[in-house]
Symmetry: C2
């Protein structure tokens, strides 16, 4: 067999600063152009006892960061999306999600923080449905639907669009981040699709067409989409937000952090009720000063809950649009 096999370990390292979720990226020179990439490196069987240890190693080396909360996401292995160094090497990608409190990148590392909605602009609905959806995505998807030859194929495509991007019968499901990315990729609306020489992408190549969002190296935007979808789901049933927050925080900060991740606004009073009921936090008697209105109490995550109830998340009392 003339094929070599390598396994890459990739990390989507997420933090929330203010009201903006960000990932840590490293510069990557890829076929001439330079694009941002997630920190990653190959599994070295001799050196890395486990996959996760290998990942921590590479991340430390490339960013100077020591990860604490790490979770495996998915293993990607499609031959034609791997962006091969040469045609006789097969590369798998094992993707991880890490949650951290944002820190300045330590000296001597070229890593930088980037807002995630630069890469997935259609996922942020906090200010209502974003313009890019109405003005560019929905029309382009409508084109894609009608560009199918057979009527049956058209119906399939329309159904898929409706369910992933929401329509009359099906509301927007904020966890389907990956489905949406994959659909846009298949429809050729993503720069990476053209890079991978997708047929559908070629259709747009000579029109005045702009791809959606900033690209990332390799298949890293797909990893980011996987990470965001998974995190949005997990928030609801595990107290993971607290990995992203400082030791003490106000309830409003907590709410803003959750909102920034799930991409929608939440009903404030009901959000508090849910957090309170789950007994996830406890008040310190201290208050946030140096803010505008009435000062808010500072709360702290009750780490004990991890040993008490089985699966408390924050709950998402959504707001009608």
């Amino acid at each position: 067999m003339p094929y070599a096999l390598t396994v890459g370990l990739h990390a989507a390292i997420l933090a929330v600063t203010g009201e903006e979720p960000r990932i840590l990226t490293v510069p990557e020179n890829e076929s001439g152009r330079s694009a941002a990439a997630l920190p990653f490196g190959p599994l070295e069987p001799a050196r890395h006892r486990t996959l996760e240890l290998g990942l921590l190693d590479w991340v430390r080396e490339q960013t100077g960061m020591n990860l604490t909360y790490v979770e495996q996401l998915y293993t990607f292995g499609d031959r034609d999306r791997a962006l091969l160094p040469d045609a006789s090497t097969r590369v798998l990608a094992v993707a991880y999600l890490a949650l951290v409190r944002e820190r300045r990148v330590t000296e001597g590392h070229a890593a930088s923080w980037q807002g995630i909605y630069r890469f997935l602009p259609w996922e942020d609905r906090r200010a209502g449905e974003p313009a890019i959806l109405r003005d560019r995505i929905r029309p382009a998807l409508a084109d894609w639907v009608s560009s199918a030859r057979e009527p049956k194929r058209r119906r399939q495509r329309r159904g898929r669009v409706d369910i992933t991007f929401g329509a009359v019968a099906a509301p927007w499901d904020n966890e389907r981040v990956l489905d949406r990315y994959e659909l846009l990729y298949e429809a050729g609306l993503i720069a990476e699709a053209m890079r991978d020489c997708r047929p559908s992408a070629a259709a747009h190549s000579n029109s005045a067409f702009r791809e959606l969002g900033s690209p990332l190296a390799f298949d890293h935007r797909r990893i980011l989409a996987t990470a965001l979808g998974r995190l949005r789901g997990k928030l609801k049933y595990r107290p993971v937000v607290f990995e992203l927050l400082p030791e003490t925080f106000t309830l409003f900060q907590l709410q803003r952090t959750v909102e920034s991740l799930v991409g929608v606004r939440l009903h404030k009073q009901n959000f508090r009720r849910l957090v309170g009921r789950g007994a996830l936090v406890e008040g310190t008697a201290r208050f946030e000063t140096a803010t505008r209105g009435r000062p808010a109490e500072l709360f702290r995550f009750r780490r004990e809950v991890l040993h008490e109830r089985s699966a408390p998340g924050v709950g998402l009392p959504s707001l009608p649009e």
Copy 2:
């Protein structure tokens, strides 16, 4: 680097017959003894365009079965749990879950169906907490807790036992299948732990100790635990049970199937209410004959729901014990 790297593709193929979930196993000769194994085979970079296609290929070859519903579970890569063919090859395992309707194994294949609770007997609580938990597991775990030297370590162990196996403050969480398996493995109560030369396992090696449940080859019992935990979670928010049921079925059959998977009995009337509310099924006007009491109507899964609502699962109206 003197290390070779291989990636194995492993399939937990699940069906429910009557009220018993089963997996498809193949015979495997492993270091002299023969043990059942999940169907698996190495990724062949030249032949397999995607990981999933590789998996389907191996499964077809070993069992004659064509899979439809397939889902990636996890990628395992710990060096010291891989059961290496030789010390200079590193083997990763990408594990999948497949759901099928049970069929007879086709001629010429040595595969056979095995009830999953043979391998994870503590997970079936349909008849209340199983005796093995009270008589063997809880005592053995109590020993394991007190066998820790430092008090701090003991407290940690006790907390971990309480949260994974349930205690006063925390009820039994039926999704923590993997946590429970891992804990038993670490405590040396699982045959595979001894096979992997775990120190904790050695403690039991010369007493009149019997390991829990039947072993599987490699780390396949861990894969099974991952599969069951994931499926138990997914049932609640995606209509996946129907992959396991025939075209038409009674509501009671549906309930029994769900119960067999989640491992607890459910409240019948409320279960119906939930299924009805989700509009998951529709009655055919036909009835199940050849049964004892009043004949039950046959229902059919409304495949349309996949294109309607975002995420309907069956819901689990649990019964107090």
